[in-house]
Symmetry: C2
Subunit: 202 residues, 2 copies
Amino acid sequence: MSDMTSTADAPRSPGRPRSLRADEAIIEATLDLLAEGSTIEALSIEAIAARAGVGKATIYRRWAGKDALLLDALRRLKGILPQPEGHSVRDDLVLLVGAIGKNVDPRASKIMPCLVPEVNRSPDHFRLYQNIIAPRRQLMREVLRRGIDEGLLRPDIDLEVTMALLTGPMLIQRVLQWNPELDERALPEQVVDAVLEGIRPR
Amino acid sequence: MSDMTSTADAPRSPGRPRSLRADEAIIEATLDLLAEGSTIEALSIEAIAARAGVGKATIYRRWAGKDALLLDALRRLKGILPQPEGHSVRDDLVLLVGAIGKNVDPRASKIMPCLVPEVNRSPDHFRLYQNIIAPRRQLMREVLRRGIDEGLLRPDIDLEVTMALLTGPMLIQRVLQWNPELDERALPEQVVDAVLEGIRPR
């Protein structure tokens, strides 16, 4: 993954809107093909080029290969990273939990679940997917560490388990519509408060 | 779903092993086709009959239609319900959390994630899926109610939120391999204890 070119980092000469439009069309074509049920395996640079109305060379000029393009396309799907305010640990956790699975792009709900079995069969694709979610996980880890430093959270908690506790309920509700009895809007606060307090009498 | 015939309830005349073998082949053919990437929509009684090596009439003799057959096939995938012992609330929760996403059949990891977007687009399929998971959810709800009755859990906890807290981490780890840092075998106890105690200092 180290040789990939990302949309954000690539230098771009000024006054070339046509190349920008081509990039956009290529990303859109990739997401469209995935949303229509193409597997990662079956997805080809040829098919993406045809759908985007560009030549294969245009794609290879911007991305090292299919995986680099896929990484950019899936990042687009996830939207921008939420920004914790840094005042209240509880409020920052509510913000981060509320952002989980809240994909801006409606194609995400078609693409993401089906991607899972495929991603898990291939170490390369697994790494690619972890690259996308790692920065979000890191944000939450930092808020929890701040809570420990400030004495608001127990110093002996397992950070990875705590993140799974905060993430899991929101993810299964947003992605799987797991339980019709749950109110998705109230869930971030309910989850954070329950994880903070526990369910045993204090 | 009320007119369906389920594998467990259907009367079967003795001495007809051939019909039992046919049932088995039909269920297997259904799961195979789904695991190979067939959508619920595209799955046809014709295709299932062809794969199972039986006539369509054999299928309709046992199941009212595709949805009834699908319900039986997906139930098979989920395996049998775990049995809480009824002594320790904590141990029963650990047992139930450990059973989450622990599908016996290796085809489950290919079938279940991809099913989600499709299931959520159709109210009928959503009901069908809820029918499969509702009994598991009910088992956990009963253990939590017992904990409240015994004074081990706070009486004001939200049962549905608590179930999402117990279920979510295990489900995302088993189905999505969410975080490589987590130890799947240790997770049921870690999740139950963290949910019981909370992460604030007591």
